[in-house]
């Protein structure tokens, strides 16, 4: 849904002209402090409740992950990873997975439907379902494997960062519900400051590699993590160490497409001019009734 005004759209999918620039807003971010998360899933419940989503009841796979994966109905899921970073020291790393709201969104770049994906001036990336054609290119464009195509209506879904709530000055539902303060919401600047404080704390407590995950490869994200082991983000259910838009996507969506369009239009135009300059190839018995005009 489009929850903010058209004045607040900074980037629009499959659109070659600039978006509105007049109004400036402050960039927001959600900070997820993995080190303070207790895995209670209140955020998942809040997300379902606020967005009126009800996923099908799944099956127990012997892990706490429930539902097992993101879906059209589950826009955020907790990922539970049991790891031994140091030998014989088990750690339970719980990461709230969902859209990272990239500053350079791969979904938006790969989307062929004008206006189906927008990035607001506050940094939130939103799917405008009425313009979605269901092609699934956003799935291949995303460096975090987040968007999901509904099996019911073939539209793409993902976390909207509660753009409707944020638009009226509220924090996202997950941040509102979090009982430990592991999910915080505010300006991106404030969230990075707060994250830096948490990192200092964690380092004092022995997590020498603690850090904030705000990957530069996608221009930074509007969902940032505080990680105990920021040197190994893969520990957190495969969080990519250096996410960026695949060169396969950026090559095609960047320089190749205009060149290909130019080649096609160029070929048709060249044909026309060839005909008007060189002329057709005619054979002798082609027009018996109207013989070619005599040479003058």
């Amino acid at each position: 849904m489009s929850s903010l005004q058209s004045l607040d759209i900074a980037k629009r999918s499959a659109t070659t002209t600039p978006s509105t620039q007049a109004r400036k807003t402050i960039e927001v971010a959600k900070l997820i402090d993995v080190s303070s998360c207790i895995g209670c899933k209140a955020c998942q419940v809040a997300c379902m409740q606020w967005n009126d989503l009800r996923d099908e009841v799944g099956e127990n796979h012997g892990t706490y992950d429930n539902p097992r994966d993101l879906s059209a109905q589950s826009w955020t899921v907790m990922r539970y990873s049991e790891v031994e970073v140091e030998k014989d020291k088990l750690e339970w790393l719980i990461r709230k997975d969902g859209c990272m709201h990239c500053d350079d969104p791969g979904c938006l770049k790969s989307c062929p439907a004008p206006g189906a994906i927008v990035k607001y001036t506050n940094g939130i990336v939103d799917f405008i379902s009425e313009h979605c054609v269901g092609c699934g290119n956003c799935v291949t464009g995303c460096p975090f494997d987040v968007p999901r195509i509904s099996k019911v209506d073939s539209k793409a879904y993902k976390c909207s960062l509660c753009s409707d709530r944020v638009g009226v000055g509220l924090e996202p539902a997950c941040a509102k519900a979090c009982p430990t303060g592991a999910i915080r919401f505010g300006t991106k600047e404030d969230m990075l400051d707060f994250g830096a404080e948490r990192v200092t704390d964690l380092k004092e407590r022995g997590y020498a590699n603690a850090g904030v995950y705000d990957p530069a490869g996608v221009g930074g994200t509007h969902v940032v993590y505080v990680l105990q082991h920021a040197d190994k983000p893969e520990l957190y259910h495969g969080l990519p160490a250096d996410p960026k838009i695949s060169p396969l996507v950026s090559l095609w969506k960047g320089v190749a497409k205009p060149l290909a369009v130019a080649a096609m239009i160029g070929a048709a135009v060249a044909g026309f001019f060839h005909y008007t300059r060189v002329g057709p190839i005619e054979s002798k018995d082609e027009t018996p009734d109207s013989e070619p005009a005599e040479k003058v």
Binding site: C135, G136, S154, W252, A260, A263, H274, P280, I281, S283
Partner: protein, 207 residues
């Protein structure tokens, strides 16, 4: 004095050709709509973006099936020989309007044969890669990296196919008397003698 006509394509061959044209047109309109934002308006011809997404793979598949029928019938006539390579060497001369130096062509000349194979290969790539990101049925069976490669190859071979169709259509307009081979099934003897002398000899026994 009447004009003698030589049969070139049977009624079923013509029907098959025009079915390919029909399916190609819808597949091209719906595919180009997603190709570049400047072409998205083409989706209006098939009922909007979502209909373009739904129809495109079916149209592509139908086109490919019809092309397969054509391929089976014609591939033997399109094997590129040394004589065709010689013809292709002189093709730039022909494009400049001087066809005097062209080596005699058979049923198909080197250029036509090239177009035939380029179309066949690009269609095969389009079908294989198309399945890999066909929503909602097949895409999820393939890993995302493979789908990224498939999307790129699909668009690349679509570009090649569209370019070869432009060449194909232009050649038919450029060489007068060609189009009736596909509308009426026949060509004039004069056309055959001039453009495909070896085929003309084969068909009439004349030198």
């Amino acid at each position: 004095m009447g004009i003698r006509y030589l049969p070139r394509y049977s009624a079923s061959e013509r029907t098959n050709h025009w079915l390919i044209v029909l399916f190609f047109t819808v597949a091209a309109l719906s595919g180009l709509a997603f190709f570049h934002p400047s072409l998205f308006f083409l989706s209006a011809f098939v009922g909007g973006g979502t209909w373009a997404r739904i129809l495109h793979p079916f149209m592509g598949l139908l086109m490919s099936l019809c092309f397969l029928v054509m391929f089976v019938r014609l591939w033997r006539h399109n094997v590129i020989t040394a004589a065709d390579r010689e013809w292709l060497k002189h093709s730039a001369q022909m494009l400049r309007g001087d066809k005097s130096g062209m080596p005699p062509a058979g049923r198909y000349n080197g250029g036509q044969k090239q177009v035939f194979w380029v179309m066949a290969v690009s269609l095969a790539v389009l079908v294989v890669t198309g399945f890999m990101f066909w929503q909602p049925w097949f895409a999820n069976a393939f890993p995302i990296l493979l789908r990224r490669i498939a999307v790129l190859l699909h668009a690349l071979s679509a570009t090649v196919l569209v370019l070869s169709v432009i060449v194909h259509v232009y050649a038919a307009i450029w060489v007068k008397g060609t189009i009736r081979a596909m509308t009426r099934g026949t060509v004039t003897e004069g056309w055959a003698r001039q453009n495909h002398p070896l085929w003309h000899r084969e068909m009439t026994g004349k030198q």
